[in-house]
């Protein structure tokens, strides 16, 4: 049981680190949000559930914490992305397409 928990926690920790690395390396807000959302959600899910497996008494509580993170983390990141687009943060120069031109008016009407 202990070893399964260690392995799952290890995978989670690696994903948490990769998420932060993505925050540091990627070029603009939206790409950073991509890395930040996906990697930290799965990373914290695995880390927390892994601790729950190592210590079976804590299992249900850790499961509730991780499900809460799984449900709320995408929502807060979605709110940040929407706010960035509406106040007119520029997309990365190499972007191929931008179909959200109608948001550009929002800032002028503010």
């Amino acid at each position: 049981m202990y070893f399964i928990g260690i392995i799952i926690t290890g995978i989670g920790v690696i994903f948490l680190f990769l998420g932060s690395l993505g925050i540091w390396r990627l070029p603009d807000v939206y790409n950073r949000l991509q890395a930040g959302t996906k990697c930290t959600t799965l990373g914290s899910f695995f880390t927390i559930v892994g601790v729950g497996i190592m210590e079976p008494e804590w299992f249900w509580k850790t499961l509730i914490i991780s499900i809460f993170i799984l449900l709320t983390n995408p929502i807060s990141n979605h709110a940040l992305g929407r706010a960035s687009r509406k106040i007119g943060v520029k997309l990365y120069d190499g972007s191929v397409v931008d179909k959200s031109k109608e948001f550009d008016e929002y800032r002028e009407n503010l």
Binding site: I6, T9, G10, G12, V13, I14, L16, F17, G19, S20, L21, I23, W24, V29, R32, L33, G36, T40, T41, G43, S44, T47, I48, V51, M54, E55, W58, K61, T62, I64, I65, F68, I69, T72, N73, I75, S76, N77, A79, L80, R82, A83, S84, K86, I87, V89, L110
Partner: protein, 83 residues
Amino acid sequence: MVKLIFLTVISGGIFLCFLRMLKGPTPSDRAVALDTLSTVTTALLVLLGYIFGRKVYLDVSLVYAVLTFVGSVAIARFLEKGV
């Protein structure tokens, strides 16, 4: 030993987020880095609770997750519409 490696790797992640928070060209970048940082901290608190053997850390972590969510949404609203 393994626990020490885990803590080191997570600290590296927190350091990178912190650098982005200091450097980020726009306010949105800083907000995104802060949000990521607080999710990482939630996981770190649970791991610390296991290492110190204290169940109380789980409650701290749960409350921290709730506050982080509300805080991020509040920052997003502030960026979007002002106070």
